[in-house]
Symmetry: C2
Subunit: 331 residues, 2 copies
């Protein structure tokens, strides 16, 4: 049994040496009410970077020399639990360990027959819920409006854009390579894509792609891309602030264009979004997501890395945009 601990709080960009692998050869013994789980898929997500710092945040930081945890799909390999039996697959927040004991709390049974197991970490998991609930609860989009999505080729962004199309919006995605931009349009049905790495004047490029202005902005990145969107917002624009991956590794406090004058001029809204605040809406959201997936209206991309030992590197690669869609590690 192997486990990954947080060794150091990363300074700036995380590195593999911020993590420590430990092995334990003594067998795990379960008691009544417990499950022995074997990890199958591990989700790596940008928000984990925040938990590796000790700054005040919406969830407690990871502790040093303790296991990192994230969304995981695991197989029950032994059970003294009334509800879950050997061979079941469960999804939930678990440690970065090859095996672990759980009392089942916070874990949901998932069905690999209905959808691939990894999707319960993605489009049928936190990723899909984040996309659906952020867009609908804060964005409140109306048919015919224009939606801009940053980090559009990422796990959340690619789902946001597709839901935008289902809801009748004009959808513009911002991503970091021509290949990703092509994928946004050909695979996910975005109306327009902008490669921020090759576009000199992002403000002008957004204006061109959104001739009627931007009504809803689903922001995964922050930084200069979000500044450029601000110049194009409409009156009563809604900006869902879901992540700020472009500044998560900054060691100095990031500076941007002052948003306040834009908000006043346009009676516009910016709201930080954390999916866990909307748990009472999960069943409704899951119903839409699984229906759309079954009907073929939603599709997804996954980047699957193999091997427990590659979890830290897969996480670090998120910050270089090496993933297309959801990044998961298969154990």
């Amino acid at each position: 049994m192997k486990t990954i601990l947080l060794k150091n709080r990363p300074k700036g960009r995380p590195s593999v040496s911020d993590f420590e692998f430990v092995e334990n050869d003594s067998p795990l013994e379960i008691k009544d009410g417990e499950l022995l789980l074997e990890t199958t898929y591990v989700s790596v997500d940008p928000y984990l970077r925040g938990r590796m710092s000790d700054a005040k945040s919406y969830v407690a930081p990871f502790e040093l020399d303790k296991p990192v945890h994230s969304g995981i799909v695991a197989k029950v390999i032994a059970s003294k639990h009334t509800e879950h039996k050997e061979g079941d697959y469960l999804a939930g927040m678990l440690d970065w360990s090859t095996q672990q004991i759980s009392n089942g709390e916070g874990l949901t049974k998932v069905d690999g027959e209905k959808a691939p197991l990894s999707t319960y970490l993605g489009i049928l998991g936190m990723t899909g819920l984040t996309a659906y609930l952020g867009l609908t609860e804060i964005g409140k989009p109306k048919k015919g409006e224009t939606l801009v999505v940053s980090g559009a080729a990422g796990a959340v962004g690619s789902v946001v854009g597709q839901i935008g199309k289902i809801l009748g919006l004009r959808v513009i995605g911002i991503a970091g390579s021509d290949e990703k931009v092509d994928m946004l349009k050909s695979k996910f049905g975005f109306d327009e894509g902008i490669n921020y790495n090759t576009t000199e004047d992002m403000t002008a490029a957004i204006a061109k792609a959104a001739p009627n202005g931007v009504d809803v902005y689903f922001d995964n990145v922050g930084g200069p891309i979000s500044d450029a969107v601000l110049f194009n917002i409409n009156h009563f624009a809604r900006m869902i602030i879901c992540g700020a991956i472009s500044v998560y590794n900054n060691t100095e406090l990031p500076k941007s264009v002052s948003v306040q004058p834009f908000l006043v001029k346009n009676s516009a809204l910016m709201q930080g979004f954390i999916v866990s605040n909307y748990s009472e809406k999960f069943p409704e959201a899951m119903k839409h997501l699984s229906t759309w997936l079954a009907e073929g209206k939603l599709t997804y991309s996954e980047t699957v890395v193999e091997g427990f030992e590659n979890i830290p590197q897969a996480f670090i690669d998120l910050f270089d945009g090496k993933n297309k869609g959801k990044m998961v590690v298969k154990i």
Copy 2:
């Protein structure tokens, strides 16, 4: 009859030479349905700066070589109007002229016996409505929460803080002189005041004044003061972006601390507020404001400048904080 025209769009800080005084000696003739009005009080407000630029905004910019207009109380000196008669006082958006003709549209009769005429430009006018509706509709304050107000000694800020106290909040005001800070506490009942001109570490000063963190921020100023508040916001904080007077005269695009990471970490909200979007709530708001004023629970400060020719300078003086409370010009 004298009128003030916008001569130039100000570059940076407005100057008196951006305005032009014109005289017209031919008497004004009214037709059926019209009123001849003599200006009594003129409101000067920071938001007018925005209308002097031609940048896209929530209201059309003022036209060059046309009269500037703002909130005005005027006396009817001749009437061919069915509703309003000679001697009535009316309040509404009117030109910066000593006399003018109106068909009465958009004007409300005001009663100088019930409250001083100038209050209809202040606490019983747009100022009071902005304070009440911004705080309650966006801020949604709950008893026991902490409210920070910037521009606290200004027209809107001083009312916001008092309403905060009526609603059971801990109220901290930020202003630009010790005299103003004293006034916040002694006259308006704020719990704490901070002089941003003499405080080196605003973030620490706010933390000290708001030991439980900041739940609601009523922002009239933007810029570095608002940056310092960000470091002190609580989970689910609501920030009412009502104005950004600290940057209105900037000729370069103002930069600030990136707000997005703070919004994500705290599931916090920032929303631009324009009182005119809430007109259906005006009657309810006016009821509260006039009741509280009559009961002595609300008080106000006014800076009254005398003389039509001093309107431009009074407006410019707002940007140096020369006003305490509402700045009006008495004609």
